[in-house]
């Protein structure tokens, strides 16, 4: 747990770094909330009008003053007000976040449910035709951009079958679980497609590695039946790299769902962040990035915990 506490200590440090980075970066982008809102009409504003609007958007003070103000608020759980939503940033993020996390989780679940058995299967059929087929699938899957898959699915569904997952607003998981699943299954599949492929590959190669390990030989010398050797002895060890990959990937899925959310018109965090950037909603951009970063780190932490659960060498420390 020592390691864990050390990680927890670096948390705020990294968050601070991320916050400074996003704060500066978004302000260095040309254009501000005023031009984003008024477009070319912003040119008609008199200097006094402009000043009034800058005050309204809270961008009239120096960067350092803005940052301090924001940081002090953030420390008390107030991430500021979203100027495009007219609501507190935190509320906006929290209303969008469940969808993205569900989408990413679903993608991970799909990837694990398909990829893991497939990879293990391929490993036990090493070099046989079925192994080759799995590997080709995995290779192709990893090589296809998600937006191409998304566009294709959408086009085929709507023009050939005349059906479509619900687009636009989110169907609540709690009010309509079936509808929610219907809405999210395709986007999750799109999002998790290449991830499924990489899980397949990683679990295959991890399994192959593990099957060569000494303790597998020991298990066999004990007379453990072949299937049990795979599931009870080899798999728990082979899971370790799969968990690492899932953690890293889950982090990316959280931040990288933008394209899928755009194609399927899902109101998730990725699109929120993108829209916030386009509309120069500074507080919202900061909030989104910080939130995604926080989640990324929490997921990493969970992966470490999963590691510890899987591997007593980490859980209990060295001898």
């Amino acid at each position: 747990m020592n390691y864990l506490t050390r990680r927890l200590v670096t948390f705020p440090l990294i968050m601070l770094g991320v916050s400074v980075l996003v704060f500066v970066a978004i302000r260095m982008v040309p254009g501000d909330a005023i031009t984003a809102m008024l477009g070319t009409e912003a040119g008609l504003l008199t200097p006094d009008q402009r000043k009034a609007l800058a005050g309204y958007f809270g961008i009239d003070r120096s960067w350092t003053a803005q940052y301090w103000h924001w940081l002090l608020g953030a420390l008390q759980g107030d991430l500021g007000l979203s100027v495009t939503n007219g609501k507190p940033v935190l509320d906006v993020i929290l209303s969008r976040f469940p969808l993205t996390i569900e989408l990413a989780l679903l993608a991970v679940v799909i990837a694990l449910c398909i990829g893991l058995p497939l990879g293990v299967f391929a490993a036990t059929r090493n070099q046989k035709p079925s192994d080759l087929a799995v590997r080709i699938f995995a290779m192709l899957g990893q090589s296809t951009p998600s937006f191409v898959i998304g566009l294709l699915i959408l086009y085929i569904l709507s023009s050939v079958f005349g059906i479509l997952p619900t687009m636009g607003s989110a169907v609540s998981l709690f009010e309509d679980p079936i509808g929610n699943l219907k809405q999210l299954i395709l986007p999750a599949l799109t999002l998790g497609f290449s991830f499924t492929a990489s899980v397949t590959r990683i679990s295959r190669s991890a399994m192959l590695d593990v099957l060569n390990d000494d303790y597998v030989r020991t298990a066999r010398s004990k007379g453990v039946p072949a299937l049990q050797v795979i599931w009870r002895h080899a798999l728990p060890n082979a899971l370790i790299p799969v968990v690492t990959l899932s953690g890293v990937e889950f982090g990316y899925l959280l931040g990288g769902a933008v394209l899928v959310e755009k194609i399927y018109a899902l109101p998730g965090l990725g699109r929120l962040a993108l829209d916030a950037i386009l509309q120069r909603d500074y507080a919202l951009v900061q909030g989104c990035v910080l939130f995604v970063a926080l989640n990324f780190m929490i997921v990493n932490l969970l992966v470490d915990l999963a590691y510890a659960a899987l591997d007593p060498r980490i859980r209990l420390g060295g001898r």
């Binding site: 566009l151 086009y155 993108l274 990324f296």
Partner: protein, 280 residues
Amino acid sequence: MADLLRGLLRHPSGRIGGAIVALYIIVAVLAHLGVTPYDPIQQFRIDRLKPPSGAHWMGTDMFGRDVLSRLMVGIGQSFLVAFASVGISAVIGTALGLTAAWFGHLWDGVVMRLMDILLAFPAVLLALLIIAVIGPGTGTSVMAIAFVYTPIFTRVVRGPALSIKSRDFVDAARTFGSSRVYILTRHLMLNLVAPLTVQVTLALAWSLLTEAGLSFLGLGTQPPASSLGLMLSESGNLMEMAPWLLVFPGIAIMLGILGFNLLGDALRDILDPKTRSALA
């Protein structure tokens, strides 16, 4: 080097991956030298949106430009961005990872925390912000992708570097009084070549994908130049009218990524002493 090539030729996925990448590089070089069926930016008004035919093997786009010619140039452009960005991030990432592993302590802490910050920052948004600040273009795409990938290289290098650092031959070098630079370059770097090569091919695949994504959002390569991503993006709303505009660049990008992935797999096998003997 010759060993590596021979190994690749003997490895089944190395052969295929190598062939794809080699083909693409040849195509890119040809396109760069101007050897394309048509001028890739010449617009032929009467030939707008023509499906594939004998004259235009892959059809024409909405400006009447030859898709094949644009694809050839696009492959070159996409590869350029991929190679340049991966090159930059590999060099910077390696330098950072190596020094972090070697000096440890404060420097290690500072570098790795900085990398943690970059890693925690959503990658797509980071790239978008960088491009928005500097303005789009080939150079910017290269920089943005390099920026996003640098922390990954740093991590990939630091781990093995730490373990190599404690290997006996490094200790041996220290007993001779070898200089730091010598140890870093000859002992650490040389032994990192294997993990790095593998990572580089994976990064190339990823970078190809990211370039496509950025161009898809209109923020990568600037028209009328072409890149695979830009071609995909331009085909977006024409998909139903002119599917060939989507299909060919789509296949090209898939194959390219496939090529790098296969190559990476093969290199991993070839450079890993555990599997090398099995292959020989």
